[in-house]
C-alpha cells in the first residue's frame, strides 16, 4: 500500500511536467519497460528491438533525437548515453497534440517546440544552423534505399532545395554572397502560417475502463 502511494505522487509530478494523463503515463511506462528489458534506463541499442522501426529511412536520426541533450533540455549540445523514464516522456511530449483550448501564446509556444525538435534533427552538429552538408546528409538518408539513385542526384536535389530555402529566407542574393545555413528563425519563417500541428503529433486513444460481466 505504501509503495502504491509514492508511485502515484511520482505520476502526478510527471503529469505536471509533461502534460500526459496518468493512464497514458502508465501505458508509456509499460512500453518503456518493454523496450528497456525491465532496466531503469534505455540505451541506443534497445531501439533495435522495434522491428517496425527498421523500415524507417531516418531511423538513426529518430533514435538520436531521443538522446540529444537539446531535446532533453540538458545542454546546448552533445548526446546522452542513456535516458530514464522521465527523459523518455519528455521526448514523447513533443508529439502530444496541441491543446487548442489553451491561449494563443501557449499554442504558439507548443508549435515552436515541435519545430525546434525538427530543427535539431537536421542540425546534427548543434551549431544552430542547417548547413548545406547537413541538408545533403538528410536527403541522402531519405533516398538511401533506392540503388537507382546515384549520390549525384541526391546531391543535386539537396542543392536545389537549399537554394529554394535561401531565396525564401534571404531574398535575392549577390553572386558571391554565401548562404551559411538555415538558422532557427529562418526555419520558422519557412513554416509561417502553415499548419504543421496536425502532422507533428501522435493521437493517443481515449482510455476508458470497461467493466466486464461474466
Amino acid at each position: 500500500m505504501g509503495a502504491a502511494h509514492s508511485a502515484s505522487a511520482e505520476v502526478r509530478e510527471l503529469e505536471g511536467k509533461t502534460g500526459f494523463s496518468s493512464e497514458q503515463i502508465e501505458q508509456l511506462h509499460r512500453r518503456f519497460k518493454q523496450l528497456s528489458g525491465d532496466q531503469p534506463t534505455i540505451r541506443k541499442e534497445n531501439f533495435n528491438n522495434v522491428p517496425d522501426l527498421e523500415l524507417n529511412p531516418i531511423r538513426s536520426k529518430i533514435v538520436r533525437a531521443f538522446f540529444d541533450n537539446r531535446n532533453l533540455r540538458k545542454g546546448p549540445s552533445g548526446l546522452a548515453d542513456e535516458i530514464n523514464f522521465e527523459d523518455f516522456l519528455t521526448i514523447m511530449s513533443y508529439f502530444r497534440p496541441i491543446d487548442t483550448t489553451m491561449g494563443e501564446e501557449q499554442v504558439e509556444l507548443s508549435r515552436k517546440e515541435k519545430l525546434r525538435f525538427l530543427f535539431h534533427m537536421y542540425d546534427s552538429d548543434s551549431d544552430g544552423r542547417i548547413t548545406l552538408e547537413e541538408y545533403r546528409n538528410v536527403v541522402e538518408e531519405l533516398l538511401s534505399g533506392n540503388p537507382h539513385i546515384e549520390k549525384e542526384s541526391a546531391r543535386s536535389i539537396a542543392d536545389g532545395a537549399m537554394m529554394e530555402a535561401a531565396s525564401v529566407c534571404v531574398g535575392q542574393m549577390e553572386p558571391d554572397q554565401v548562404y551559411e545555413g538555415i538558422t532557427f528563425e529562418d526555419f520558422l519563417k519557412i513554416w509561417q502560417g502553415i499548419d504543421i500541428e496536425t502532422k507533428m503529433h501522435v493521437r493517443f486513444l481515449n482510455m476508458e475502463t470497461i467493466a466486464l460481466c461474466h
Binding site: I62, V202, T209, I210
Partner: protein, 456 residues
C-alpha cells in the same frame, strides 16, 4: 529412536493407503476411458465448477475495489495510439500541398516537410509496436487464481487469499502428482506399445493396432494435462495423402491434434527422451524425422515430403508452418515450403481459452521442462479446434499466395489477427529487403518528379 517407531508405521500406512487410492482413481476414471475413447464428462464438470469459483472471486474483488476506491480493471485497449492508415504517398502530397503556397508545377522536388511523415511514423512505432505485442503472453481481464497471471490485481481480502492458497495446495499437491503419473504412464505405454507393434509383419492388422496404440497414448497425455478440447466440423478431418496445417502456440498442439486423428509427424531428430519416443514411434508407422544436417537442405525436405504425400496409403502429414510458437492472438507468416508440394491442404485452427491456463510457450523465457511444469500446475487447458474444408493451390497462384490464403482462413475461423510479419522476428532482425521497400517508394516519388521536370 524407539519413540519414533509407532509414528513411523502410521505414516507408512497412510502413505500406502493414499497411493493405492490414487492409483485406483487413476485407473478407473482416467486410463480405462482413455483406452476406449470414452469420456465420463468429469473434466467438463470440473471446468464448470472452476468458472463459478472465478466468477465469485472476481465479484469479491470488484466489491473490495469499490470500497477502497481503487481502479480494478486495466483500460481496455488494443494499443496506446491511433495510427493513421494513410499511405506514404498520400501523406507527403498533403503535406506539400498545405505547405507550398506556389503553383503546383513550381513545387521543389524535395521539401523540408517530407521528414514529417517519417518522423511521426518512427515515433508511432516506438510507442506502440504490433509485432512485439504478439510475442508476450496475452493479458487477462479477470483473475483466474493463478499468481502468474496476476498483473494488476492486488491483495484485496483475506477470503480471497485463502482461496488462492487452497488453489495452490490443490494444484501442486493433488493435481500435479496425478498428472505426472498419467504423463509417465502415457509415454511409457507409447514407447512400449509402438515397439511391440513394430515387431508385427506389415499388414492391415499392424496398421489397425498402431493406430489405436497411438490414439490411446495421446488420449492419456491429453488427460495428463487436463485438456478440455472441443472439436468442430469433424467431417473435414485430414485424409491420407494430404497435409494438415495448423497455427502453433505450444508443443501441446501436437498432442491435441493427434488425439483425434492419426497423423504422420514431421520433425527433427532429438536426443534424450524425445529421441527414444521418436525411434519407437517410427517402428509402428512411417513418420518423417530429419537429421539436424538435413533440415537445412530445403530440396531434400521437399523431396521426402512429396514422396510421402504421393503414397496414398501413408498418413496425412502434420505441419506447423509458422515455424515458432505465437501467443495465440494472431497468426504470423506461413513459411511457403509445405505449400509448394502440391498436395491437398487441410487447415486447422486451434484457439486456446486463456482463462484456465496460458498455453503459450515463450521459448526465450522458459525452457521445455519449466514450460511443462507450468502447464501441469495450471487449472486446465481449454481449447477449441476447427477443422476447415480442404484447399488446393489454384493454377494462377504461387506458393506464397496460397500460403496467405490458407493463413487468412485459419485466422478468420479462430478469431485471430492475420499478420504479415514473420514469426522468425522473435529471434532475428528485419530482412533488409523490407527496409528497402519503403525507401524505394519514397525515392521513386522524388526521382519521378525530377524526371518529369527534366523531360518538360
Amino acid at each position: 529412536m524407539f519413540l519414533l517407531l509407532p509414528f513411523d508405521s502410521l505414516i507408512v500406512n497412510l502413505l500406502g493407503i493414499s497411493l493405492t487410492v490414487l492409483f485406483t482413481l487413476l485407473l478407473v476414471f482416467i486410463i480405462v476411458p482413455a483406452i476406449f475413447g470414452v469420456s465420463f464428462g468429469i473434466r467438463k464438470l470440473y471446468m464448470k465448477t472452476l468458472l463459478k469459483i472465478f466468477a465469485w472471486a472476481t465479484l469479491r474483488m470488484e466489491r473490495g475495489a469499490k470500497e477502497k476506491n481503487h481502479q480494478l480493471y486495466k483500460p481496455y485497449t488494443n494499443g496506446i495510439i491511433a495510427k493513421d492508415p494513410t499511405s506514404l504517398e498520400e501523406e507527403i502530397k498533403e503535406i506539400r500541398r498545405s505547405g507550398s503556397s506556389k503553383a503546383l508545377d513550381n513545387t521543389p522536388e524535395f521539401e523540408l516537410s517530407d521528414i514529417f511523415y517519417f518522423c511521426r511514423k518512427g515515433m508511432e512505432t516506438i510507442m506502440d509496436d504490433e509485432v512485439t505485442k504478439r510475442f508476450s503472453a496475452e493479458e487477462l481481464e479477470s483473475w483466474n487464481l493463478l499468481s502468474r497471471t496476476n498483473y494488476n490485481f492486488q491483495y484485496i481480502s483475506l477470503r480471497l487469499t485463502v482461496l488462492w492458497g487452497l488453489g495452490v495446495l490443490i494444484r501442486y499437491c493433488f493435481l500435479l502428482p496425478l498428472r505426472i503419473a498419467l504423463a509417465f504412464t502415457g509415454i511409457s505405454l507409447l514407447v512400449v506399445g509402438t515397439t511391440v507393434v513394430g515387431y508385427l509383419p506389415n499388414g492391415r492388422f499392424k496398421e489397425f493396432l498402431s493406430k489405436h496404440v497411438h490414439l490411446m497414448c495421446y488420449r492419456i497425455c491429453v488427460r495428463a494435462l487436463t485438456a478440455i478440447i472441443t472439436y468442430h466440423d469433424r467431417e473435414n478431418r485430414p485424409r491420407n495423402g494430404g497435409i494438415c496445417v495448423a497455427n502453433h502456440t505450444s508443443p501441446i498442439d501436437v498432442i491435441i491434434l493427434a488425439s483425434d486423428g492419426y497423423y504422420a509427424m514431421v520433425g527433427q531428430v532429438h536426443g534424450g527422451l524425445m529421441g527414444v519416443i521418436q525411434r519407437a514411434m517410427v517402428k509402428a508407422c512411417p513418420h518423417i524425422w530429419f537429421e539436424r544436417s538435413e533440415v537445412k537442405d530445403r530440396h531434400l525436405v521437399a523431396k521426402r515430403l512429396t514422396e510421402h504425400v504421393r503414397d496414398k496409403s501413408k498418413l496425412p502429414i502434420l505441419i506447423f508452418p509458422e515455424g515458432t510458437c505465437i501467443n495465440n492472438t494472431s497468426v504470423m507468416m506461413f513459411k511457403k515450403g509445405s505449400f509448394e508440394i502440391g498436395a491437398t491442404v487441410y487447415p486447422v485452427a486451434i484457439k486456446y481459452d486463456p482463462q484456465f491456463g496460458d498455453a503459450f510457450w515463450n521459448s526465450s523465457k522458459y525452457g521445455m521442462v519449466t514450460y511443462l511444469l507450468r502447464m501441469m500446475t495450471s487449472w486446465a487447458i481449454v481449447c477449441s479446434v476447427w477443422y476447415l474444408p480442404p484447399m488446393t493451390r489454384e493454377a494462377d497462384e504461387d506458393a506464397v499466395q496460397f500460403a496467405n490464403r490458407v493463413k487468412s482462413a485459419i485466422a478468420r475461423q479462430g478469431g485471430l489477427v492475420d499478420l504479415l510479419w514473420d514469426g522468425g522476428l522473435k529471434r532475428e532482425k528485419v530482412k533488409d529487403t523490407f527496409k528497402e521497400e519503403q525507401q524505394k517508394l519514397y525515392s521513386k516519388m522524388i526521382v519521378g518528379n525530377h524526371e518529369d521536370r527534366s523531360r518538360s
